[in-house]
Amino acid sequence: MTSIMVSRIRRQQIAQLITDGKRLDGRGLNDFRPIQIESGIIEKAEGSARVRLGKTEVMVGIKIDLGEPFSDRPNEGVLTTNAEFVPLASPEFEAGPPGEESMELARVVDRGIRESKAIELEKLCIIPGKKVLVVFIDVYVLNHDGNLIDASTLASIAALMNTKIFKYELKDGEVEKKPGLTPLPLKDTPTSVTFAAISGKLVVDPWLDEEEVMDARLTMTFDKKGRICAIQKGGVGTLSPQQIAEATSTAKEKSEELRKIVAKR
C-alpha cells in the first residue's frame, strides 16, 4: 500500500519462503495474525471498538445523528463511512485531505456492511422523506502494519454491535430526544478476508512488508449466510481465474472464523 522501504534481500526472503509455503513471521499461508477486540471504549460515541490485528491497530467510532434521507431511499436511514489515515499511524501518512487509499478503504468497508444489509436502515426512518437517523462510521487507523481492510471491517462490526441509539418521540412533526437508549438494529455481521498474491500464491492477512512485496491484493466479504457481499481487487498485478476460485473457498472458511471471534464480544 504505502511505500515503506523493504530491502531487496528481505523481499526475496519473503517471496522465496511463500514459494515453499512458509512466511517470514512463522504463520501458515492461511493464518490470520492474533486478533484482539475491545469495544465500548469511547463513552462519547454511540458505539466504538478497537481492533488489534498483529501490530495493526484500528479504532472505529460510531456517531448517530438526525438527518434527511436520500431522495431515492425516502424510507431508509443513511449510512456513511469515512476512513482517516491519522499521521501518528505511519511515517507514510500525512495530514491533509483524504487520499485515494483512505477513500478506497472506507468504500470497501462500507460496501460489505451496506450490501449485506447488516444495519436495518428501514428501522431508522422517522418521517419518510424528511427525517431519518444517520449512522456515521469513522475508521481511525492508529498503527499501520498491513491489512487495514480486514482490521477496519472487524472494528466497524464490533463497534456497530455495541452501538446504542437514543430514544425519541414525535411531537408536532418535531423529533424530541427522550432519556434511555436502545441497541442499533443489526441483522448481519459481514467479515472480510484479504489476500496478497506473492510468488503466484495467495496469503491471508498480509502484514506491511508482505503488502510491499505483493503483486495484487484481493478482498472478499461474506455475510453470515456464507454469501459473498463485496469483492475488491487492488494492486497493479493480476490474478488468474483459478486463483480467484481458490480464494473464494478459503475466504468463506476464514470469514466464519472471524465471525465467531467478533460474536464472542
Binding site: E100, R107, K233, G234, V236, T238, L239, S240, P241
Partner: protein
C-alpha cells in the same frame, strides 16, 4: 425503491430486449481527438464515453517523476449532464476510487519501465452513463493507449456480469445495476488469462459468483474482438486515404 421493476420477463428477455447472456450493442472508434496522443470513443448501450491519453511526457509536478519507470495517472470523471440528476463536477469519492482501480487494471499491460521519469496520463470522460461505465471506460482507455503508440503486453478489456431478476446476466444496464441483486465488474488480459480488475457488490453465493465471473470473461473475449477491429479500422481508413491521394 418503491416499486420493483420486472427486470426479466417470462420469456427470459431483459428490459432492453436482450437475452440473458447478450452484450449491449457496442460501437468503438479510435483516434478521434486531434490534441491527444491517443484517443478513443465507446458507445455501449446508452453509455457514451471518451478516453484520451497524453504521454509519455515530462512528469509534472517534477517530484512525482519515478527514476525507473513512467508514472501512470488516471482520471475517471462523469460529466454533470451524464446522469438523471445533475452530478457535481467535483470528483466524488466514487470517482476517486474508480480512478484508482481503473489505473491499477491498466498498469499491468503497459511497459512503464521503457519511459523512466515521464508520465502517462489517461483521462476518461463519461458523457452519458447507463451502467457499467468503469468497464466501458477500461475498454476504451486501453484503445486510447494503443492509439497513443504506447507499448503494451496486451489490450485490456472489461465487462460486468451479475444477477438481476433472480438470474445471471451479462453486461448489466443502469436499471439492472441499481435494482438487481449483484454486479461483478471484471477487467481481463485475454492473451495471459489474467484478471486485472475484480469487484463485486450485492449478494451472491460462491457458485453464483463463479457463474458471473465465467460470464464476464466470456463478454470480455467478445469485446476484445471488437477492440482489435476498431484499431484495424483506423489504419485501414488511413491506408485507403493514402491510396486515393496516390491515384490523384
Amino acid at each position: 425503491m418503491t416499486e420493483k421493476t420486472i427486470l426479466i420477463n417470462k420469456e427470459g428477455i431483459r428490459t432492453d430486449g436482450r437475452k440473458l447472456s447478450e452484450l449491449r450493442p457496442i460501437k468503438l472508434e479510435v483516434g478521434i481527438l486531434s490534441n491527444a496522443d491517443g484517443s478513443a470513443y465507446i458507445e455501449q448501450g446508452k453509455n457514451k464515453i471518451l478516453a484520451a491519453v497524453y504521454g509519455p511526457r515530462e512528469a509534472h509536478p517534477r517530484h512525482l517523476a519515478l527514476p525507473d519507470k513512467a508514472l501512470l495517472r488516471c482520471r475517471y470523471h462523469m460529466a454533470p449532464f451524464s446522469v438523471e440528476e445533475r452530478k457535481s463536477p467535483a470528483p466524488s469519492r466514487r470517482e476517486v476510487e474508480l480512478s484508482k482501480v481503473i489505473r491499477e487494471s491498466l498498469e499491468p499491460a503497459i511497459f512503464l519501465e521503457k519511459f523512466p521519469r515521464t508520465s502517462i496520463d489517461i483521462f476518461i470522460e463519461v458523457l452519458q452513463a447507463d451502467g457499467g461505465t468503469r468497464c466501458a471506460g477500461i475498454t476504451v482507455a486501453s484503445l486510447a493507449l494503443a492509439d497513443a503508440g504506447i507499448p503494451m503486453r496486451d489490450l485490456i478489456v472489461a465487462c460486468a456480469a451479475g444477477k438481476a431478476g433472480g438470474q445471471m446476466v451479462l453486461d448489466l444496464n443502469d436499471i439492472e445495476d441499481k435494482e438487481g441483486e449483484a454486479d461483478v465488474p471484471v477487467a481481463y488480459m485475454p492473451s495471459f488469462d489474467a484478471v486485472s480488475l475484480l469487484q463485486m457488490d450485492g449478494e451472491l453465493t460462491i457458485e453464483e459468483f463463479q457463474q458471473a465471473l465465467t460470464l464476464a470473461l466470456d463478454g470480455c473475449k467478445q469485446i476484445h474482438a471488437l477492440q482489435k477491429e476498431a484499431l484495424k479500422a483506423k489504419y485501414q481508413a488511413i491506408k485507403e486515404a493514402a491510396e486515393v491521394s496516390e491515384e490523384e
